[in-house]
Each structure stands twice: as C-alpha cells, then as structure tokens.
Amino acid sequence: MAAIDHFLAMGGYARFVWPAFATAVIVMGGLLAESLSTYRKRQRDLRAAEKQRR
C-alpha cells in the first residue's frame, strides 16, 4: 500500500506528472478513437453502397 502511494505521489510532483501522462493518453486515445470510428463507418457505408449496386 505504502509502495503504491509512494509511486502515485511521484515525489511530490504528482499533480504535474499524472496530468501530463493523462493528456497524452486523452489526446492520442482520442485520435485513435476518432480514426477507428471513421474507418468503421466508411467500411459500413461502402459495403452498403456496393450491395446496392448489385
């Protein structure tokens, strides 16, 4: 328990270190999510349009 607390506290710099990592996760995760959802949408739309063509 103490070890985890020590780790989370980051030597007193916790309120700088964790938001920095969090920003990276949020921005990069957001880009990943947006790219994936666009990709899946295009796949669905393309399949539907190709089916319609036949």
């Binding site: 780790f7 980051m10 030597g11 007193g12 710099y13 700088f16 270190v17 938001p19 920095a20 990592f21 920003t23 990276a24 921005v27 990069m28 957001g30 880009l31 990943l32 790219s35 994936l36 666009t38 990709y39 295009r42 796949q43 739309d45 393309l46 349009a49 190709e50 319609q52 063509r53």
Partner: protein, 242 residues
C-alpha cells in the same frame, strides 16, 4: 515505388501491414510507459518530475517529424500529382496537431515545478506554439473548400510554404529569446542524458512513431474508401438519371 502507391495496391498492402503496426505500437508504448514510470531513475535535480520528459520529448520530436512528412507528401503531390500523397498529407495533419498539443501541455506542466510558472516563453516551447498554429492553419485551409481536391492542393502549397518558413521562424524565435532571456538557460533534461534515461526515451519515441504510422495508414484507408464511396454515389445518380 509508384506501383506500391497505386490506390488498390495500397489498400492491399496497408491492410496486411496494419495489424503488425498496431501490435508493435501497443508493445512499444506499453514497454516505454512501464520503463518511464517504474524503471527509469528519478533525476538528481528534478526528482520524479523528470518522468514528464518521456512524454514531452517524444511528442516534440513527433510534432516536427509529422510536419516533415506533411511537407514531403505535399511536394510529391504537387510535383507528381500523386493522389495518395495528397491524402497522406491531409490525414497526417490532425495527428501532428495532436502531438504538438501534447508537447505544449506536458511542457507547460513540466515547466511549473521547474520554472515556477505554467508558461514560459522559452525558445523551444514558443517555436512549438507557432508550429501548432501552422498545423491549425493547414487544417482550416484544407477543410475550407467544398471540393476536396481544391483543398488538398491549396494545403499542399501551404505545407511547403510552412516548411520553408519553419527554420526561419525557429531561428528568429531563438534570436528573440537570446535578446530577452538571461544568459543561464535551464535545459530541460540536462545537457547529457544518462543511458538509463535514454533507453526509455527512445522506446517511447519509437512507440509514438509507430502510433503515427498505424493511425496514418488507418486514416488513409478511410480516405480512400470515402473517395470510392463518392465515385459510387456519382455513378448511381448518373445511372438513375439515364
């Protein structure tokens, strides 16, 4: 090289490559994060705050790297009129802007314990801020036209103009900084970096790079599918009219 770049062939080989890139990205980012948070030693001066470096520095490298990719793709698009080059440039831009944002925020958070304020007009952060606006200008421009190709070509020119200007801007910001800053410059990360810190940094940087490549391939595939959709819909409306 151009055979590889044919749109259908691209869909083919990118589809095969994508899962590998995604896996490599996950492994490298996971390993890098673990090394950065658990294995890398704290700095004797900055303590645990130095761990921000493992996010800030790779993001900074990626911000510049992605702009270079954009500029080169734009040059290829303008000189050889290659359709994939247009798409590569356009899809890279949001990724580059994202890295730039991460760099700015993490740099700001790193600066607060080190310099005492959330923003410092030091040469590197200021240059990255200008780079952020170059990305925003590009994204605004390519999205400002109804017709996609017009936006792509305009964007290509702007990307090249920006690339030529970037060294000039960087130089002038450094110049400005030496005029206004006291002589002692606090070098983030120290003058030479210990091996125990270098490896996590490089692995994170590699992870970020592969993250970019994976997302770029994904976004380019989406863009090609969108183009195919547009063509199909035009065909359909034409056959309906006939």
């Amino acid at each position: 090289m151009f055979r590889l770049a044919n749109p259908n062939r691209f869909m083919n080989w990118s589809g095969k490559l994508l899962p590998w890139c995604a896996a490599a990205t996950a492994i490298l980012l996971g390993l890098g994060t673990w090394l950065a948070l658990f294995v890398a030693p704290p700095d004797y001066q900055q303590g645990e705050a130095v761990r921000i470096m493992y996010v800030h520095v790779p993001a900074a490298w990626m911000a510049s790297f992605v702009y270079a990719v954009m500029a080169i793709s734009s040059a290829v698009a303008l000189i050889w009129r290659h359709p994939l080059a247009d798409i590569a440039a356009r899809q890279s831009a949001p990724l580059g802007a994202g890295f730039t944002l991460v760099c700015l925020v993490s740099g700001s958070l790193w600066g607060k314990p080190m310099w005492g304020t959330f923003w410092v007009w030091d040469a590197r952060l200021t240059s990255v801020l200008v780079l952020f606006f170059l990305y925003l200008g590009y994204i605004a421009l390519v999205n400002a036209f109804d017709e996609p190709t017009r936006g792509n070509r305009a964007g290509a020119i702007l990307a090249l103009v920006g690339a030529v200007n970037l060294p000039i801007i960087k130089f002038s910001v450094d110049w400005w900084n030496t005029l206004h800053q006291p002589a002692s410059v606090f070098r983030l990360g120290g003058p030479t970096i210990a091996a125990s810190m270098l490896w996590p940094l490089l692995i994170m940087a590699l992870g970020f790079t592969l993250f970019f490549v994976t997302l770029l391939l994904l976004r380019m595939r989406s863009a090609l599918m969108a183009a195919k959709l547009r063509a199909l819909r035009i065909q359909q409306s034409q056959s309906l009219a006939a």
